[in-house]
């Protein structure tokens, strides 16, 4: 029998029991809709994490003091080895895989300008910190090594600090603010970086020369961490190994001992975050997949009812010369039609739900063609899989038994 004829039979049969067909379809609609919405949420979260990791900078390697695990006890970061500018110089001299390198120091400080108060983080770092983090001033300029050497009291302000200290419409560049009561000249405003990987505001920051922050604001000589940038993405593992080797030598740590510093690369952070969001996506999608499965069982159930109800019709068709295959296809096409239209409506519903979540709830949602295709193919496959058994049952009926069925 022709496919078009089979399709017409299927559509008529579904139209005959509109409510029943709709309820059966609903299982698939909900399943496919849920799969698409969940995949979108998962992929959106993943994309957001990736963006925020990318905002860390390019090919970033960070060294924290402490953080080793002697035995099973994890010591607090910063309690052991002290990273100094001498270490920075040593690494800069010897590690060929490193392009930029800076020690950083951070202090939380009260900042004032013309009666406005704001508490923020002040970062001390070499000028190349901005290259590492791929961060440029949108107004004014950055400081240079001469400011670093001279411990100049100059500052670069993040957007949040500018907004809270100066309000709208005031040119902050050239103004003098007070950090811990010391006057700093604002020489530049940094471009906005938005939210970080952990939801923190990356624009609530002031960046100043490392020496200035260390000498004038903190009064310490050791760095809180080292931030470096490898020459290329491929060089990250190599560069990280070079840093490790140099530090082991300087701190007299054997090759098999656990160092009392921690080296983190951007790749590792991306992988860790990626695996978290991957796990989330798989989890959400499998829950959604289960509802698709339940929908499929619904199709199978209703198809079995349909085959029983139409046993006589099957008998008539067999009597006039239908082959088993014709009957099989007839019921299979009907099952697939249910799941196909269910899938179609489900895709629309899932896309609608995704749009709702992103626009009304503000979730990061990414609706992709691949997730639509996956959901759609799955729903069609559900129809074939769960329609097969009832269809085969119909196809195997004995003509005379089917004709005599009351």
């Amino acid at each position: 029998m022709r496919m078009s004829a089979l399709l017409i039979i299927a559509l008529r049969s579904l139209a005959r029991n509109k409510l029943r067909s709709f309820l059966t379809m609903l299982g698939i609609i909900i399943g496919v809709g849920a799969v698409i919405a969940m995949l979108s949420v998962g992929q959106g979260a993943k994309a957001m994490v990736q963006t925020s990791i990318a905002s860390l900078g390019t090919n970033v390697i960070t060294v924290f003091p402490g953080g080793g695990s002697p035995g099973s006890v994890r010591t607090e970061a910063g309690t052991t080895s002290r990273l100094t500018e001498d270490d920075v110089e040593a690494i800069r001299r010897e590690a060929e895989g490193i392009r930029y390198l800076t020690p950083t120091a951070r202090v939380s400080a009260q900042v004032k300008f013309a009666g406005q108060n704001w508490r923020t983080s002040v970062y001390g770092a070499y000028p190349e910190y901005l290259q590492i983090r791929n961060w440029n001033p949108v107004e004014g300029v950055s400081y240079g090594m001469s400011d670093e050497r001279g411990a100049s009291k100059v500052a670069l302000l993040g957007q949040t600090v500018v907004k809270n200290l100066f309000g709208e419409g005031v040119n902050a560049v050239g103004q003098t603010i007070r950090i811990k009561n010391l006057p700093f000249r604002v020489i530049g405003i940094l471009e906005s970086k938005g939210q970080g990987s952990f939801g923190q505001d990356q624009d609530d920051i002031i960046i100043a020369p490392y020496s200035t922050v260390q000498k004038k604001l903190i009064g310490a000589t050791y760095a809180q961490n080292l931030t470096a940038s490898a020459v290329s993405e491929d060089a990250i593992p190599e560069a990280s190994a070079q840093i490790d080797e140099i530090l082991r030598r300087r701190f007299h740590i054997g090759p098999s001992d656990t160092p009392d510093y921690t080296i983190r690369t951007q790749t590792e952070i991306a992988q860790a975050a990626g695996s978290v969001s991957q796990t989330m996506t798989v989890l959400l999608s499998s829950i959604a997949g289960i509802s698709l499965l339940v929908g499929g069982i619904g199709i199978m159930n209703i198809m079995l009812v349909s085959v029983t109800e139409r046993t006589r019709e099957i008998g008539i068709r067999l009597a006039v010369g239908a082959k088993g295959r014709d009957i099989l296809l007839q019921f299979l096409v009907e099952a697939v039609t249910i799941s196909f239209f269910g899938g179609l409506i489900g895709v629309a519903l899932g896309a609608g739900a995704s749009t709702f979540l992103s626009s009304v709830q503000g979730w990061a949602v990414k609706l992709s063609l691949s997730s639509i295709l996956i959901a759609f193919i799955f729903s069609a496959a559900t129809g074939i899989f769960f329609g097969w058994y009832p269809a085969r049952k119909a196809a195997r009926l004995n003509p005379i038994d089917a004709l005599r069925y009351e």
């Binding site: 019709e313 068709r317 239908a322």
Partner: protein, 264 residues
């Protein structure tokens, strides 16, 4: 149409080409729990090409079982059945479907039309299951068949919009649309009034004239008297097999019926 060659006794079937139906030692047993029912006990029978055969017998005599086996709807337990030169017991399920589609036509007591499907589509149904036809031709053939049974005006009616006689005409149109060699009718007039019954028999006689072999199951003696041969089953055996030298003609009987109806 006085000389219509309705085959009657005397014209020996064996003298012609090979019989259309040839049955030897045909048995059919059903197992109903502990009890075994022998529906057919070693039936031997030949039906020649172009015969009009009536089969009768009490219920449970095996006549319906015999018909179902002739129609390739049911398989015998034992024996041989040759239909139009092919040994049926050696055929696969699909080949049996092909036999039913190309060589056989069925008419049932309960019409067995697809409900919510127009008369035309019902008649087209056997054509849809063959791959060597074009949809436009199917349409034409089905229309022609409906016109031949006098339903040219009601092709788009659904079965529930047709009378019993009309529904049976649709079923006959369906049975003949694929130009079968044998039409099997199981109590085709069982649900019909006298007039419709004779009209339906008339259609069968018309088809028989064109050379199609007709086998008709009936328990009504007056219906059987339209056939050229009467076979009676009892307890799974053929107990009578006789020629009717002068079968009734439906056209004559209808003509007799008309004035009586007008008076009533």
């Amino acid at each position: 149409m006085t000389d219509a060659p309705i085959r009657a006794a005397g014209s020996s079937p064996g003298a012609q080409s090979a019989p259309i139906v040839s049955v030897r030692n045909l048995t059919k047993t059903y197992k109903m729990g502990e009890v075994t029912v022998e529906a057919l006990r070693k039936v031997d029978l030949d039906i020649a090409r172009g015969e009009f055969v009536a089969i009768s017998g009490a219920s449970g005599s095996g006549k319906s079982t015999f018909m179902n086996i002739l129609g390739c709807l049911d398989a015998p337990t034992g024996g041989k059945y040759v239909l139009d030169g092919r040994e049926v017991e050696s055929l696969s399920r699909d080949e049996l479907s092909l036999m039913r589609n190309r060589k056989l036509g069925f008419v049932f007591q309960s019409f067995n039309l697809l409900s919510r499907t127009t008369a035309l589509e019902n008649v087209e149904l056997p054509l849809l299951y063959r791959k060597d036809t074009r949809p436009a031709d199917n349409h034409e053939k089905a229309l022609a068949a409906l016109r031949a049974v006098g339903l040219g005006e009601r092709v788009h009616h659904h079965p529930n919009q047709l009378s019993g006689g009309q529904q049976q005409r649709v079923a006959i149109a369906r049975s003949m649309v694929n130009d079968p060699v044998l039409i099997l009718a199981d109590e085709p007039t069982g649900n019909l009034d006298t007039r419709s019954s004779i009209e339906i028999i008339g259609l069968f006689q018309g088809l028989n004239v064109k050379g199609i072999t007709i086998v008709l199951v009936t328990h009504e003696p007056d219906i059987a008297s339209y056939a050229g041969r009467l076979i009676v089953f009892r307890d799974g055996n053929v107990v009578r097999d006789e020629r009717n030298p002068s079968p009734l003609r439906a056209s004559d009987e209808l003509a007799k019926l008309n004035p009586a109806e007008k008076i009533a």
